[in-house]
Symmetry: C2
Subunit: 154 residues, 2 copies
């Protein structure tokens, strides 16, 4: 079901989605495959590191964020892809047992001049934990199809 | 063995590392877990998308890049972590069978004023494929311990 289009992203809108509990097993599995630095693999090394304990790779945090965005809205949306990310900030470590939510802020929404059936949406996505502390933050641009291509926007 | 320190990152230096062939199985496995959008899961959907074929999630590209950086230098280095990434550009899709190399450019290298035993290194990392075309590019800052804390740099 594809029922979310460019027009549904309203500048300034803030929404919070989901609730996901991170396990030690998945932190270890991701780290073994993609980021086998000691602080992501070993409790003692994590405790001795700046992270203060065994903590997820920053890239794992980004991957979890993408999955939460898929479940929250991307899989229902007319998303066509993304040219990239303008910023990722790893602000707080993510530990086993942390419960994460995803906060989405629509920073900018504009139609494409060269391709009037497309819109570009700049989102700030934040992974929150604990008392809504920001663990990871990113800004990215996603291309969405328009529900009414060529229509004049309000 | 930890034999790479802050002092080993020389501004302007460009190095190329590794050779990694991406398989369809790993593209599908990553997408199922973290980015189950159709263009990362299904050949027909990929062909109909802007990617032009079944292609890896952009976050998978970042994860592969991190693994190649670990194997190339991070696991031998005094890396203490990263506050974040200032830019990720997904420039070309990564298809099954693509052979990737990692190119590292040292953009900036400076010691920390508040913590003289630390240095901050800004790297541009690029995943290359084919005839050295840039598929994914990122800039990030990594903190490294100094070999000679407090020593005056040349």
């Amino acid at each position: 079901m594809q029922d979310i289009f460019f027009e549904d992203f309203i500048e300034g809108e803030v929404k919070t989605f989901g609730s996901y509990c991170v396990t030690e097993a998945e932190i270890l599995a991701f780290a073994r495959e993609f980021d086998p630095q000691p602080m992501h693999l070993d409790a003692q090394a994590g405790a001795a590191s700046m992270l203060g304990g065994l903590a997820a790779s920053g890239w794992h945090a980004c991957a979890i964020m993408q999955r939460m965005a898929c479940d929250a809205f991307l899989l229902r949306a007319s998303g066509l892809g993304s040219p990239g990310v303008t910023e990722v900030k790893w602000k707080l470590p993510i530990f086993p047992g942390d419960v994460l939510t995803l906060r989405r802020t629509v920073l900018e929404s504009r139609t494409s001049k060269s391709k009037p059936d497309l819109g570009l949406v700049t989102l700030r996505l934040e992974l929150l934990k604990g008392k809504n502390e920001v663990a990871t933050e990113q800004q990215l641009v996603i291309l969405f199809a328009r529900r009414n291509p060529g229509a004049r926007l309000a």
